[in-house]
Subunit: 186 residues, 2 copies
DNA sequence: CTAGTTATTTATCATTTGTTAATTTTTATT
DNA sequence: AATAAAAATTAACAAATGATAAATAACTAG
């Protein structure tokens, strides 16, 4: 299970804690386009992507908007629900065929009480996610759509694997506008 | 010290842990406009605002951009530095006369090892901040500047206390554009 | 209170992005 | 390979926002 490689790179667990985690992890495969967690639900699972990719999405004025992408070896959660217990208007969907490890959130939170190192590990994991989110805000403040697109080209594998329509809304622009930007860049 | 009221509302500490925290807290007052942490520095302090308000800011193409506001009873940190140890191109500035409690970050992180409840408390505090940040991204994706401004009017005290030029960049628009929006709304 | 500074508004014009619709390209299915 | 369906591009025009400059209003220091 390469989940533990991921963990080890952040904060290695005792073998006791590893075993405790393994007992609450299950594996699952989703087909391309399949909804992993539906809009309106509560986030009760932390997903680790073994293979494939997924997105967090929601609808605004009838438009499908992608808020976040996750790839191989990424964690994906709907933070605004996981950390508040409230339902969220966002869902998670597999973009391509995707193989995930599911960590049950309630069980995980219970492990926090017993295994200090597990709480620490996940604190560090989500601090990283937090930092990524802060950087994303920067990209929206006073960067043009073109700059945001070029940043994306440089820093991620997104553009290779993901339909443009998802990328456009992720950048906060329409599909047509992204097409125009791509034409300029070429 | 109303820091503990803030803590208690999130996760009450043992009296032992409270005392440990108090030993690493100091109080300080900043004058209006005074820089609390300069651009380019590392974030080594967690600030709790007892009174007044502050902002996180940076420069982009010579423009002063406000990324974040914090008010009475808010925590303020430069997450991308605090959680990575790297310097950041952002600074913190008092907007009005501001009274803060400073928690030394290194000392705090050391307390995490000994006081499980302190680590938990700050995990929960920063999870909340993370959720706020996620919500802010939402506001940038496919909300018009006018919508973002109206949201701000409804949900915060920002507009009462803060110069428009700061609010404009916070919304991701120019001062002139914000003025125009305000004229429409009236 | 006054002069000087800073913040805000207004106006004009340029640029970017949105909207709609038609066209081409790509992908999926048989 | 042929067809249908979905995705991406292009074009034309509309709306939102940026940039610059000038005018007004609010604030600050003496």
């Amino acid at each position: 299970m390469d989940l533990h490689d991921f963990f080890d790179a952040i904060y290695p667990l005792t073998s006791n804690s590893r075993q405790a985690i393994e007992r609450i992890v299950t594996e699952k495969t989703y087909k391309k386009q399949e909804v992993i967690q539906p809009i309106g639900s509560r986030c009760k699972t932390v997903y680790f992507i073994k293979n494939g990719c997924a997105r967090i999405f929601y609808f605004k004025d009838g438009h499908d908007i992608t808020e976040h992408f996750a790839f191989k070896k990424d964690i994906i959660v709907r933070a605004e629900s996981l950390f508040t217990g409230k339902p969220t208007s966002k869902g998670i969907q597999a973009i391509n065929d995707t193989n995930v490890l599911k960590i049950d959130a309630l069980s995980l939170f219970r492990l926090y009480d017993v295994h200090h190192d597990i709480e620490r590990l996940f604190r560090l994991i989500f601090e990283k996610e937090y930092v990524n989110t802060v950087k994303r805000i920067e990209s929206f403040q006073f960067k043009s759509a073109k700059e945001r697109y070029l940043d994306l080209l440089n820093t991620t594998e997104i553009v290779q694997k993901i339909p443009l329509k998802y990328i456009a809304s992720y950048l906060g622009i329409t599909q047509v506008s992204l097409s125009r930007i791509r034409a300029e860049v070429r």
